[in-house]
């Protein structure tokens, strides 16, 4: 059953169609990957779903209800959380406060009594519990990314959108992040992820969609995508 659906999703930047008439759906409980060359419109699509940008035309539905037209904070409270390609955290706040903020404001029904406990559990879940009382700016890149994931999870999402979680990480860190992604899915959270690290995306995704110049050119299992002529052409040239 699809948890997120997009129909004819379109966005222009000036005359350029950043995302052009894309139909897609993400099924409940799966890990859905989004790949494509630079400038393909992947992050734009994420921004449209999370309402950082406003659709030109088309419709986006979450659990069968139209969500296009809502504000970012409303999308978050509905149950869609996201992270950013360039890490966006609150550098001068404590690591724990970063997570608490998500719990206090983003959860559909925030409960003040459990916020501290939830924050500790999530920091433990992403492996940051030892650093909960230091300012977020002092974390390394990989830990900042984990913190961003923890803050997003604190909003109790049903769908988590990860924008290049593995970019800039070492091979060991990438492996750990892949493991983190599957653990999040095992909690029952659907995952929609953009990734450039092919090994990672082929390893964890159930299905993959390929964008090129704003258009969807392929969709299928990792195996189908890896052998698709069209996809190989786009990535390697003819």
């Amino acid at each position: 059953m699809p948890i997120l659906e997009g129909e004819q999703v379109t966005k222009y930047f000036g005359g350029l169609a950043a995302v052009s008439r894309v139909d897609f759906h993400v099924d409940q409980g799966e890990i859905f990957g989004l790949i494509g060359p630079n400038g393909a419109g992947k992050t734009t699509l994420f921004n449209l779903v999370s309402a950082a940008l406003v659709l030109k035309s088309g419709i986006i539905k979450f659990k069968g209800e139209k969500i296009s037209g809502l504000k970012p904070y409303q999308i978050c409270r509905r149950g869609i959380a996201r992270t950013f390609q360039s890490v966006k955290i609150f550098p001068n706040m404590l690591v724990r406060q970063n997570v608490k903020l998500g719990a206090l404001f983003g959860a559909p029904k925030p409960m003040a009594s459990t916020v501290d406990k939830d924050a500790e559990e999530l920091l433990d879940f992403v492996g940051l519990s030892a650093m909960s009382m230091i300012p977020a700016r002092d974390l390394t890149l990989v830990n900042q990314k984990r913190l961003e994931v923890a803050a997003a999870l604190a909003t109790k999402p049903e769908l988590l959108m990860l924008d290049e979680l593995m970019a800039g990480l070492t091979p060991t860190e990438t492996a750990e992040s892949m493991e983190l992604v599957t653990r999040i899915r095992d909690k029952g959270i659907t995952i929609f992820m953009i990734e450039h690290v092919m090994k990672a995306i082929m390893g964890v995704c159930d299905r993959i969609m390929v964008l090129h110049h704003g258009e969807k050119i392929a969709e299928g299992t990792p195996k189908e995508i890896a052998t698709s002529k069209k996809v190989i052409e786009v990535y390697l040239g003819e």
Partner: protein, 317 residues
């Protein structure tokens, strides 16, 4: 409830000192001279402007230059309603009208960022000033207004009352969930929005609260000025002074803007009365020195000294 009792436990001493200081100040008119009371009223007025400016601009990083607009609205409210309403009600009306204007203006302009927001808020002062001028010239055919007089002690006590309410408001906002949201907006507005913070609402309400106190301070100080016109009421100096005083004091701690404004206003008064010819020159030199050598203001200096006396720094700060 747990968190609220913690708030009080952590800083009982601070509360005690604040209450004693406030009580001392409140009884001051009984034994102080008239000059000192007028001086203290002016200092407290500057503190109110500075703290209410910091309330919004400190955590969010949106530099507002609208202080003079809200201050002036308060002044004009008192000039118009002064004789009609009881004094306290007229002061509250000054605050309330400023609050409402701030909500309206905030809803339209808080999507502007950085320098654009600063320039717009600055324009607001001029806009209201010239609207009033236009009104007085073309509609009422008057120029300026007389304001009801109040005695110095009453003005002092009301100013002190506004200050006390402001400090309480400031303290609770800083310590609350709302304050956390406000800080998150300053640090990364986009991330805050995507973590469920209704950034527009939080910004607009805080902007309004800050305007309320500026308006109330304007309303009560107007009763000392006897005659006002748009140029007096909407003096852009009142937009810049709070910013300078807040930077001077440092915005990292609650007491920063308070001591900043107090020392700044007092120094200004001393220089103006003792060295009228070198007043501006000396003042300028002090300002430049502070900005170069104390980028975090007086608070930064205090913290540096304290850290030195405690020995060593933390690795993670």
């Amino acid at each position: 409830m747990d968190s609220i009792s913690n708030i009080f436990k952590g800083s009982r001493l601070g509360w005690l000192i604040s209450i004693i200081l406030l009580a001392l100040l409140a009884t001051f008119p009984i034994y102080g001279s008239a000059y000192t009371i007028i001086l203290l009223t002016a200092i407290i007025m500057y503190i109110i402007l500075t703290v209410s400016w910091t309330l919004f601009s400190g955590p969010t990083g949106y530099i507002s230059l609208a202080a003079a607009a809200f201050f002036g609205v308060g002044i004009y409210t008192m000039a118009i309603l002064g004789g009609e309403l009881p004094l306290i009600a007229a002061v509250a009306a000054g605050g309330l009208i400023s609050f409402l204007i701030a909500l309206g203006v905030g809803a339209i302009t808080l999507r502007l960022k950085g320098i654009y927001f600063a320039i717009f808020t600055f324009g607001l002062v001029e806009l209201i000033k010239h609207l009033l001028l236009f009104w007085e010239i073309n509609v009422t055919g008057t120029r300026g207004r007389f304001v009801v007089l109040e005695d110095n002690n009453t003005i002092f006590w009301i100013m002190l009352g506004i200050f006390a309410v402001l400090m309480l408001t400031y303290y609770f906002i800083r310590r609350s969930k709302f304050g956390l949201a406000l800080q998150s907006i300053g640090e990364n507005e986009e991330a805050a929005a995507h973590l469920g913070v209704n950034v527009t609402l939080v910004k607009v309400i805080t902007f309004g609260i800050s305007a309320f106190f500026m308006g109330a301070a304007g309303a009560i100080i107007a009763t000392r000025w006897t005659y006002i016109d748009p140029y007096v009421a909407f003096n852009v100096l009142f937009s810049f002074l709070p910013v300078i005083m807040a930077i001077f004091g440092g915005m990292g701690q609650i007491y920063g803007p308070v001591i900043g404004a107090a020392i700044f206003a007092y120094t200004e008064e001393i220089l103006l009365t003792k060295f009228p010819y070198y007043y501006m020159l000396t003042f300028g030199i002090i300002l430049i020195a502070v900005i170069i050598y104390l980028p975090d203001g007086l608070v930064g200096l205090i913290q540096r000294l304290r850290r030195r006396s405690l020995g060593g720094q933390h690795a993670n700060t």
